[in-house]
């Protein structure tokens, strides 16, 4: 049985590994990559209509706690969009954004787990923990440790 704490622990571990020292812009890109990966993985099981409903509820709750997320939108085809937030991300403090990301991803995993008998949980946790490595295959280069380091994050990802 996986409870909410284990979802939170997964997100915390991922953030501890990937987020320290990142600028708000880089954090947002990391957040978008995580949301995109979870969206794709979940959509194949639940379909976009059901997933949109769930994501909208999660975003609603998240933006009530973290006003920085108010402009996030759910697009049934492409998932959660941060386009507007990107325009003024420079004015957001990285610590505030980190907490918003922590809550949103934790809530998304918790709710999806609760609704689906925790069936998707193992693969979603795996997906989240692999988000940095996967980007390496797509666009970037790999650090000596085998992890992806985007150009502007170089030297900041541990």
């Amino acid at each position: 049985l996986i409870d909410g704490d284990e979802h939170a622990a997964c997100v915390n571990a991922w953030l501890d590994r990937s987020a320290p020292g990142l600028s708000s812009e880089a954090l947002l890109r990391l957040f978008e990559a995580a949301l995109g990966a979870l969206w794709i993985r979940t959509k194949s099981a639940l379909g976009e209509v059901t997933l949109t409903v769930i994501a909208e509820r999660v975003l609603h709750n998240a933006s009530e706690r973290f006003s920085v997320l108010w402009s996030l939108k759910v697009d049934p085809d492409t998932g959660i969009q941060c386009r507007e937030l990107r325009e003024w991300i420079g004015s957001v403090h990285p610590a505030e954004l980190t907490e918003a990301i922590r809550f949103t991803l934790g809530e998304l995993l918790r709710v999806l787990g609760h609704l689906t008998a925790e069936i998707l949980t193992p693969e979603l946790h795996l997906e989240l923990s692999g988000i940095v490595q996967r980007q390496a295959l797509r666009v970037g280069r790999t650090s000596p440790g085998g992890r992806y380091v985007p150009a502007d994050l170089e030297g900041k990802v541990r």
Binding site: A45, T116, G130, G146
Partner: protein, 469 residues
């Protein structure tokens, strides 16, 4: 990098059974009458796959709400309370607190008692799936929760999701129909009142008349939407029927053969039989592949996305290539193939591979229905406007009734001497139509059949062409 999905293995025979159950449930939802006549039997079917322990349907529109609880024999009140508490939390989260707090939430027990499961796993969290009832572009209007007796896996989730999606469409359609009925009744009542008030209420009568007209327009639109939905459901049913029935036989062959191969036996005996068995598995897999290719082609035709790469071609070589590629098949079936190519044929603009696909389909059918020693003739000829291809066989022929339906999707004659998917000729028609041509069949029972198709010429054909039918 290890980011792969955690997948659940499922035996092919179970996969087929699930498809069959889904097909049966879809049929029930397609002719939705009410919960008792639709969801109750659907849950009975789903129980065979999921070993359901209980189910809870909650529908809410912000003011009115109803909850139906299906429990299994012997399920205790405490267990049901725990389940309902879980449903309550998830429902409020997905649909909004107002809906679940509606003052007139009416709860009742489902008509069907689910069978008592032989064994129930401990943790409810791993046996409980709850998904929103929602259709595209609308807010969610309810939830369906299913509790399995055992821990559920990903194939169970896909199965439940398919059921919930179809149920949402059926319930949404039913709600629209109910609204339509209420709207009409109100309009008619207003009209009656206005008429009773006489001329003094002329303005009210006009308003009521307008209301009635609008209701009628809405009813027409609703009926059209209903028809479209029915058509979509019907098509999906047919595809499911094809997938569930036509994949079953080759799958059974593969299972049986691999089972025999894996048994302990006399090694020499097994070695001798190996090429034969591998050949059977290969042919069965090829049949499955053909079916999947057909389904994909057909989907492309239906959505108008069939890729056609046209280039100028001489028709003669197309016939020659078809004859060559079917030479060994014809020998195997002991039928004779003959080709007749008119001299001086003009070029046509076509996708060579697609035209060969049409030819292969027609010739493949002809071989299947031809008697041993029979003759099949391929002909290509042209007049000034178009080039016509023909495949004639000496098979049992086709009745006039069947001739009318040959090219319809999924259609299969009751007296076919071979089994097909019902897609081949529909695909052939789609391909020929995409070339601006026509396809048709001529036949009499007992006198064989001739299938013809035409493609427009891109340069003048022979002036003394054959007459059009």
């Amino acid at each position: 990098m290890t980011t792969g999905a955690v997948t659940s293995a499922i035996a092919p025979e179970h996969a087929h059974l699930r498809l069959h159950h889904l097909y049966e449930i879809n049929k029930l939802f397609a002719r939705f009458e009410d919960i008792e006549q639709t969801l109750d039997p659907a849950l009975r079917i789903a129980t065979e796959t999921l070993h359901l322990r209980s189910a809870v349907l909650t529908e809410a529109d912000g003011v009115h709400a109803r909850r139906i609880v299906w429990a299994s024999d012997g399920q205790s009140t405490e267990q049901l309370q725990a389940l309902k508490a879980r449903v309550e939390t998830a429902h409020k989260y997905l649909v909004g607190p107002a809906s679940a707090d509606a003052r007139d939430l009416k709860e009742r027990a489902g008509k069907t008692a689910l069978p008592r499961p032989a064994h129930t796993d401990e943790a409810l969290a791993n046996r409980f799936i709850i998904l929103p009832l929602v259709v595209s572009q609308r807010p969610p209007f309810g939830t369906l929760a299913l509790e399995g007796a055992r821990t559920l896996d990903k194939t169970d989730l896909l199965f439940v999701n398919a059921i919930v999606s179809q149920l949402a469409i059926a319930l949404d359609r039913d709600r629209a129909r109910q609204l339509d009925i209420v709207g009409r009744r109100r309009a008619e009542e207003a009209l009656s009142r206005a008429e009773a008030l006489g001329a003094a209420a002329e303005r009210e009568r006009a308003v009521a008349e307008e209301l009635r007209k609008r209701s009628e327009i809405l009813a027409i639109e609703n009926a059209q939407l209903y028809q479209q939905a029915q058509l979509a459901i019907h098509m999906r049913e047919q595809i499911l029927a094809i997938v569930s029935h036509d994949l079953k036989n080759p799958l059974a062959t593969i299972l049986l053969t691999t089972d025999v191969l894996s048994r302990r036996g006399v090694p020499e005996e097994r070695r001798r039989g190996l090429p034969l068995a591998v050949g059977r598995v290969r042919r069965a897999a090829e049949r499955m592949l053909r079916l999947i290719d057909d389904l994909l082609d057909f989907a492309s035709i239906e959505t108008g996305r069939l890729a056609i790469n046209r280039e100028p071609q001489y028709p003669g070589p197309l016939v020659e290539e078809t004859l060559t590629s079917f030479e060994s098949t014809a020998q195997e079936h002991q039928v004779h193939l003959d080709g007749a190519i008119q001299a001086g044929l003009p070029r046509i603009l076509c996708d060579r591979d697609r035209i060969l696909q049409v030819f292969s389909n027609l010739l493949g059918n002809a071989i299947k229905v031809s008697p041993k020693g029979g003759h099949i003739k391929l002909l290509v000829e042209a007049d000034s406007a178009e080039t016509r291809f023909a495949v004639s066989d000496e098979g049992p022929g086709i009745s006039p009734d069947d001739l009318q339906h040959l090219f319809e999707r999924y259609w299969r004659s009751d007296d076919v001497v071979y089994k097909g998917t019902g897609l081949g000729l529909a695909i052939a028609r789609g391909i020929v139509a995409a070339h601006g041509g026509r396809i048709w069949a001529e036949s009499e029972l007992g006198r064989g059949a001739t299938f013809r198709f035409s493609v427009p010429n891109i340069e003048p054909g022979p002036s003394s062409g054959v007459p059009s039918p």
